[in-house]
């Protein structure tokens, strides 16, 4: 096989065993640099042409007490020679940099999986902090796995000894040593990491050098040391991706770039007001770098000021955007209501996390659906869209800008911690092929009043201050549907509430009709999902389909308004399963709106769905006689 020959190019190297996909989890103390290690492995893997998906999982504390289980930080990467949609279920390889990392992650490692352990961190103190009475490396706990135990701390210190660094800086290179070893095991190229280290530590050349030395030492160790017979080297051939130019992208980066692109397509500047909050902060960081592309960012004094400033910017003729997570959306509620009442464009990006209250700041959840759709005083309708994957955030952001400016309405864009931080290879879109939607401000004073509307969409005109002859006042008080002046008239209020609802309902006309991602209409089981569960559900349905089940996948990209044709599609199936990472919010919404007699499946663990649990779910609802006996799930 030519791939083997290629991989085996150097005579000194072992032949590489071919694998079609691998899941690796890097785990260590939150100060061990596991996120960086994971991201560097991701870059190198992307450059090898694999398809991949990642899942960083880190504690809410910046530096939890060292050695504790709640301070464990993990980064999982799934890479393959084929199209993959999730970061994988159980890891094939676990790298545990200390006892706590082993304690938290070992039960998830596949039986027979490769376990790389840094014995240097297995001190009595660390074992005790992790809650081990005996050393798990010695009491048989690791017997079901292929163990590679190395004193990585010492090996890294030796590798950089010649530089005479302090113990702290020298000790910090152990993650790069480990990465070097993993690069060797999976045949990745080191150059991208070397380049990155040299750029990152350009002002500290000795630190850069130490990290490169450690990285190379880990790799050389793999090449030269006598390895246990159970440890081999592997090759994961590149995936057959659609031809094109690719990069890795995470959800918040894609969202930021999508907003900038949306602004450009609307021929308007983007104003982004935000207050730091996990996991939305990196959206602010990404946008703050785009000043040269018509984006202004404003780090406000609080969540409320962030949304109010965005609305003020929209009043002035820019696209006002604010971004936050669930607790921030709660604070912004009153102001969002004002944007609804004054019918100004506004985009609210909600990167969801576990709730209620402070909840699980660094863990993912889909529990802001109700808050997005109904979380304001009064009958206050707006548009709610949800992104499916990291790369999808780019396209949903453009759609949000389009809808907000064309319908003069706030749009809530739901993302979550899983896609915000997760990365995937992303085929670069052709910017020139994206359809522009330039905004035309109202300028004609003839017969002008601020709430005159497009008879078809019901969108009101957008007059901006500075336009002679269009001077007007708007506000949160109810307004006469014709003149726009303050009105407390009962019939007028009734009409205005209905009118605002109808305007938002009209957005469905420009949204794609409901359609199946996979499967045929009229089957036994339809699995409905929304948001970041797209990949897991698709993969599970794909599996069941391949086993002959009459199952289908429907993914909702708009939660409000619901897409046209949804009701009939749902009705054509014997059973409708709604799988979501909350306590049944879409389930209740669809029951309320469409009387859908659906079955809910909820996971509220701060973690994404595993493909295997969804396969089991589908199995359990198939009519008896359908044989889809579980086998390995890709």
């Amino acid at each position: 096989m030519s791939d083997v020959e290629k991989a085996n190019g150097s005579a000194s190297e072992l032949p590489r065993e071919m694998l079609d996909s691998v899941v690796i989890r890097f785990a260590g103390d939150s100060g061990d640099g596991m996120q960086l290690t994971g991201m560097q492995f991701t870059t190198a893997t992307a450059l090898m042409g694999n398809d991949l998906a990642t899942f960083p999982d880190f504690p809410a504390e910046i530096r939890a007490p060292a050695g504790t289980t709640y301070g464990v930080s993990g980064f999982q990467i799934h890479f393959a020679d084929h199209d993959i949609l999730t970061p994988g279920d159980e890891p094939d390889v676990l790298v545990a940099m200390n006892p706590a990392a082993l304690k938290v992650n070992l039960n998830e490692l596949k039986r027979g999986g490769l376990l790389v352990v840094n014995t240097g961190a297995f001190t009595k103190g660390n074992l005790k902090k992790a809650g081990y009475d005996t050393n798990p490396l010695e009491d048989g706990s690791t017997d079901p796995y292929r163990l590679l135990d190395l004193d990585i701390t010492k090996l890294a210190l030796n590798a950089v000894a010649e530089l005479g660094l302090g113990a702290k800086d020298a000790g910090r290179t152990k993650n790069m040593w480990t990465l070097g070893l993993m690069f060797w095991l999976f045949g990745r190229d080191r150059q991208s990491t070397i380049d990155w280290l040299q750029k990152k530590f350009a002002k500290k050349p000795d630190i850069a050098q130490a990290n490169v030395l450690a990285l190379n030492a880990g790799h050389i160790y793999g090449e030269s040391a006598e390895m246990p017979s159970t440890i081999g080297v592997y090759q994961v051939p590149s995936a057959e991706l659609e031809p094109g130019e690719y990069r890795n992208i995470d959800g918040n980066q894609a969202l930021a770039w999508g907003l900038a692109t949306g602004g450009s397509l609307a021929s308007l500047p983007i104003f982004y007001g935000s207050y730091p909050i996990t996991p939305a902060s990196s959206l602010l960081h990404n946008l703050a770098k785009l000043k040269h592309l018509g984006v202004t960012t404003f780090q406000a004094e609080d969540e409320i000021a962030a949304v109010c400033a965005a609305i003020g910017a929209s009043f002035g003729g820019a696209v006002g955007v604010t971004g936050t997570s669930g607790p921030g959306v709660a604070l912004k509620g009153e102001a969002i209501g004002l944007a609804i009442a004054t019918e100004l464009p506004l985009i609210v990006c909600d990167v969801q996390r576990g709730g209620p209250s402070t909840g699980l700041p660094t863990k993912t959840e889909q529990s802001d659906l109700f808050q997005a759709v109904w979380g304001r005083n009064g009958d206050a309708p707006l548009v709610v869209l949800a992104a499916a994957t990291p790369g999808d955030c780019f396209h949903v952001a453009i759609q949000a800008v389009r809808i907000a400016t064309q319908f003069m309405t706030p749009v809530v864009l739901l993302s979550d911690g899983y896609i915000a931080n997760g990365a995937e290879p992303w085929k670069l879109p052709d910017i020139d092929a994206l359809e522009p939607f330039p905004v035309e401000f109202h300028t004609d004073p003839e017969g002008f009043f601020p709430f005159q509307r497009d008879p078809k969409t019901l969108a009101r005109v957008w007059p901006k201050p500075g336009t002679p002859g269009l001077e007007h006042r708007i506000g949160g008080l109810e307004k006469n549907q014709h003149s726009g002046h303050i009105s407390y008239d009962p019939a007028n209020h009734h009409a205005m509430v209905k009118l605002r609802a109808q305007k938002v309902a009209n957005v469905a006309e420009v949204l794609p009709e409901a359609s199946l991602e996979l499967g045929e209409t009229g089957g036994d089981v339809l699995v409905v999902g929304w948001g970041s569960t797209y990949g897991s559900i698709r993969q599970a349905v794909q599996h069941s389909l391949s086993k002959g089940a009459k199952v289908a996948h429907l993914h909702l990209r708009s939660i409000w308004p619901l897409p046209r044709g949804l009701e009939n599609l749902l009705k054509s199936f014997d059973k409708v399963l709604i799988a979501e990472l909350n306590d049944g919010q879409l389930l209740k919404l669809l029951r309320a709106e469409l009387l859908t007699d659906a079955i809910g499946h909820q996971k509220i663990a701060g973690q994404p769905f595993r493909v295997s649990e969804l396969v089991e779910l589908i199995e359990s609802h198939l009519p008896s006689g359908t044989d889809t006996r579980p086998s390995a799930v890709a």
Partner: protein, 334 residues
């Protein structure tokens, strides 16, 4: 209205019926603002009034300019967003003591310290009018109100001291029926940055006469210290009173000229650029310092935003969206 005809007060009045209570101090403030705008060469289309919630916040509806009646306490945040994207507009924030100092305290703090180029008018009537008369953050201790039937036990704040503490660079004070209010507004308008003006305002329904000591036509002048930059702090109907700095307590005190050997040369000389002096005279007993307490130029937020954008554009050297997508590592699958 022809293109070149000078605008008048009437041009700035909207067609909406003014609905404040008869005798409300807001009428006088509205008139002063409508008189002042033509004086400073304002145009209808470039002028924006942004308010929060409260009696004062109805103000924008009565101005024939652009206006935004927003939500309680948040007007400064809306104004900041607007000013950042539209530095060409002349933005006025209209707020009250409850709006600015209770629910919106945070936003007032930040709009002032950022020095966003706008005028901030705080109508202080020491009461919640729109909600029917509860005590406010500027109400005196002991104020009887529906929510404080035994008297308020909250210590009041001094708005100009809050502004000073926030880092405001233009701080002035006037009162509703004062003829000099227009001059104060003109000075505020001229200043580049956030101009904070506290306007003492009578609420005839819920707090009538609260400022009578200062605003009474006959007795008022004994209690009004109109400040002039570079001039000794002298006041009273015959200029017989003044302010001096007690060297032992470092407090500003009211003195009578000719008593205890005090002469004009002993009085404090007003220096609007001196923050310490502004602090000392901000809260004098029985006397209100009026006019410009403090004025010092500094970096203007909305201008700094523009400058950073320009710098970023220069550094990017024309890099566009396509270049952005290709930042860092990319690879080609063929």
């Amino acid at each position: 209205m022809t293109e070149n005809a000078p605008l008048t007060r009437k041009d700035f009045s909207s067609d909406q019926e003014v609905r404040w209570c008869p005798g409300c101090g807001d009428y006088a403030i509205l008139a002063a603002v409508q008189r002042m705008l033509p004086q400073v060469g304002a145009t209808l289309d470039k002028t924006v009034f942004i308010s929060g919630i409260g009696c004062s916040s109805r103000f924008p509806y009565y101005m024939n300019t652009y206006g935004f009646h927003t939500i309680h306490g948040r007007a400064p945040a809306f104004a900041t967003g607007l000013k950042v994207v539209r530095p060409d507009l002349d933005v006025w924030v209209i707020s009250g003591d409850g709006d600015s100092l209770s629910i919106g305290g945070n936003h007032m703090l930040h709009v002032l310290r950022r020095n966003v180029n706008l005028q901030y008018l705080l109508f202080n009537n020491q009461i919640y009018g729109l909600t029917k008369g509860q005590y406010s953050p500027t109400s005196d201790v002991g104020q009887i109100s529906p929510s404080s039937p035994y008297g308020s036990i909250d210590q009041p704040v001094t708005p100009v001291r809050i502004a000073l503490g926030a880092g405001a660079r233009f701080i002035a004070r006037g009162y509703d029926v004062s003829k000099k209010l227009t001059d104060v507004l003109v000075a505020a308008h001229q200043f580049q940055g956030a101009s904070f003006i506290e306007i003492l305002q009578n609420c005839p329904v819920f707090n009538d006469g609260v400022f009578d000591l200062i605003t009474d036509r006959k007795k008022g002048p004994q209690h009004q210290l109109w400040l002039e930059h570079g001039q000794p702090m002298q006041f009273g109907p015959k200029g017989e009173m003044g302010i001096w700095l007690n060297p032992k307590t470092l407090e500003a005190e009211v003195v009578t000229l000719g008593e205890n050997g005090i002469s004009e040369s002993d009085l404090l000389v007003h220096d609007e650029t001196n923050r310490n002096i502004a602090w000392l005279i901000a809260d004098l007993p029985d006397v209100k310092a009026l006019g410009v307490l403090y004025r010092e130029d500094g970096p203007v937020y909305d201008q700094s935003v523009r400058e950073q954008v320009k710098m970023a554009e220069e550094r990017a050297g024309g890099a566009d969206l396509k270049a952005l997508l290709r930042e860092g590592h990319t690879w080609t699958v063929s």
